[in-house]
């Protein structure tokens, strides 16, 4: 579920980081403004609780495997959406830094996928509507089940969109969707059941903890349309801007081309920009994948394969291994130098 840096293009990663940073800023302002500062220690400790909860597995009947709580929906139920989003973001931040779960650039995607959909879509639009003010046990379980499943399906779909838009993985969109959505169906059900199990217990033991969030009404004026419009605009601007500067072929376009033409690449190198920018394009192309310019262009005259689609890989191999050896040697030298200093 956690996306890695390796599968992201800078345009997609940057856009999602901006979207997530915006949401974090908005939630922070909200928590501050609503004088929810008594929640601040609670958020921190509950974030740590999520780590602790993930150490306690439960057996899944009839499969022999075990699952654990993800925690997004549970945090939303306990803390309300804004504080929950900040808490999820902080948990993912630590997972990225210490456990290398997803990368730093991918953090924007991961926080958005695992936080936004659970907290701002599944919780207010499904869980709260379905559970109502005073839920019975069965109703609450059902609400948690549906909310968690839908939230995770949305997140899985977002992963597919982001990966396809980045174009590093060669998985076709359709196959990827067919792979991701069914896998995350049982995961969502398990998440829903685990959430319901914990909430049911807390509801019996200390109902006021849960009712306190249900009583809050500021979700009613949640500007979801404004947010969506804002994000789409930001994505367009950033995506457009970044890909202009980086001179990528727009990813969706490439995908569409492959659909229409039935091939992965256009037959001839495409330079959508002016010839003055063509050189920069060659240097910066995020998809330098047109077969005609397989290898970098500064050595193009040496390789002399401008017209042939097939290049010999030998220089790359030899050069790569030599570089690797040189870097390792530099590391060893630096270490002995640092030790002596």
């Amino acid at each position: 579920m956690h996306m890695a840096d390796a599968l992201l293009s800078p345009a997609v990663g940057g856009t999602m980081c901006a979207a997530t940073a915006g949401t974090i800023a908005w939630c922070s302002a909200k928590v501050r403004k609503d004088l929810e500062e008594h929640k601040v220690p609670l958020m921190g400790v509950l974030g740590a609780f999520i780590f602790a909860a993930q150490m306690i597995n439960f057996a899944i009947p009839a499969t022999g495997s075990s699952g654990h709580l993800g925690g997004g929906l549970l945090l939303a139920i306990l803390l309300g959406p804004h504080a929950a989003f900040l808490t999820i973001a902080s948990v993912l931040f630590i997972q990225a830094l210490f456990f290398a779960d997803g990368g730093l650039l991918a953090l924007g995607c991961n926080i958005f996928n695992l936080g936004f959909f659970q907290v701002f879509i599944a919780y207010p639009l499904l869980y709260r509507k379905l559970a109502g003010r005073r839920p019975s046990q069965g109703r609450m379980i059902l609400a948690a089940l549906i909310a968690a499943t839908v939230g995770l399906q949305l997140a899985a779909f977002a992963v597919v969109l982001e990966t396809t838009a980045s174009g590093i993985s060669a998985l076709p969109f359709k196959a990827f969707v067919l792979l991701m959505q069914p896998i995350h169906l049982p995961i969502g059900v398990i998440e829903g059941l685990a959430t319901a199990a914990v909430v049911a217990f807390v509801y019996r033991a200390r109902p006021e903890l849960i009712e306190s969030t249900l009583a809050e009404r500021h979700m009613g004026k949640f500007p979801i349309r404004g947010m969506l419009v804002g994000f789409s605009l930001a994505a367009l601007l950033l995506g457009g801007g970044v890909s202009w500067f980086a001179s990528t072929q727009p990813d969706g376009l490439e995908w569409a081309i492959s659909k229409v033409a039935g091939t992965d690449e256009l037959p001839a190198p495409v330079h959508p920009l002016h010839s003055t920018l063509a050189d920069i394009q060659d240097k910066m192309a995020i998809f330098s994948s047109d077969t005609e310019r397989t290898e970098p262009d500064d050595s193009g005259k040496l390789a002399a394969t401008g017209s042939s689609p097939i290049d010999t890989g030998l220089p790359g191999l030899v050069g790569g291994i030599t570089t690797l050896a040189a870097c390792l040697l530099a590391g060893v030298l630096l270490r002995s130098f640092a030790r002596r200093a």
Partner: protein, 268 residues
């Protein structure tokens, strides 16, 4: 059971490495955070079939490893843990992308294999950069750097809180998991029916702990801000570190150094 304690110990060790003393440890955290970001953006901006051109980038984590006197084996193991995931995703590429891009002697190499290898190299580089960043900076300093770079204060406080209690609560979670495991003999009581109350009790204890903490903090004059000793300032060393490495990354991104070297060595 051992795996749980193991991963926790691992986590603590990474945290402790940041307390070492060295020239790179002493740099202002902002310089290190920004340089790491430039590094990652440069690496992920490579084309999907690039492999050799990315290799010189390993100089950065290796240099930090050396200058910060970090245990190479430990960091390498932390990076290796992630590789299976990269392979899992990357292995789809050879299935779908079968155009021949390279010929190595008699061997035809599909684009899919190249991009699969590229994904693995990217993973190693980006994860290595992130892990070394934590090992030479430390989590509180990274938070401080991000706050000074514009992160909202509420979120910074949240990160520091989470970090402070993560050790306490994971210890507690580990104890709960172990206690249940010992009593259930691997059979009954592992299911969802007991999971709810088990975790629920932990949650209630956590909640009460948070309330006590909050009252204690209020009694000591907490106003929504965590005061920490400000470390360092952005001086000449930091500017040199940031600009020097960034210039190198951009140069390595624009010019395929290994290809050039290979052409030279193979005499083409």
């Amino acid at each position: 059971m051992l795996a749980i304690d193991g991963s926790l110990l691992d986590f603590k060790r990474l945290d402790l490495l940041a307390m070492q003393e060295s020239a790179v440890h002493r740099l202002d955290p902002r310089a290190k955070v920004l340089t790491t970001l430039v590094f990652i953006v440069c690496v992920v901006s490579f084309g999907r079939y690039e492999v050799a051109a990315m290799l010189p980038f390993c100089l950065y984590p290796l240099a930090l490893l050396a200058l910060g006197d970090l245990p190479t084996g430990y960091i390498a193991r932390k990076v290796m843990v992630v590789i299976p995931f990269a392979v899992m995703v990357g292995l789809f590429n050879p299935l779908f992308d079968r155009q021949v891009l390279l010929q190595l002697g008699p061997l035809d190499i599909w684009g899919g294999w190249l991009s699969c290898l590229s994904i693995i190299v990217r993973t190693i580089l980006t994860v290595a950069a992130a892990v070394t960043l934590v090992a030479i900076t430390g989590f509180p300093a990274i938070c401080e750097a991000l706050e000074r770079l514009g992160m909202p204060r509420v979120f910074a406080v949240q990160l520091l809180f989470l970090y402070r209690y993560i050790f306490v609560l994971t210890d507690e979670g580990g104890r709960v998991a172990r206690a249940r495991q010992l009593r259930s003999c691997g059979k009954r009581g592992q299911g969802l029916r007991h999971f709810g109350p088990l975790l629920g009790h932990l949650l209630l204890r956590t909640w009460e702990r948070a309330e006590r903490i909050h009252m204690a903090m209020l009694a000591r004059g907490f106003t929504g801000e965590v005061h920490a000793r400000r470390r360092g300032r952005f001086g000449g060393r930091e500017v040199l570190f940031l600009l020097g490495w960034s210039a190198l990354f951009v140069a390595l991104r624009l010019y395929n150094f290994p290809q050039f070297l290979g052409l030279l060595l193979t005499g083409n």
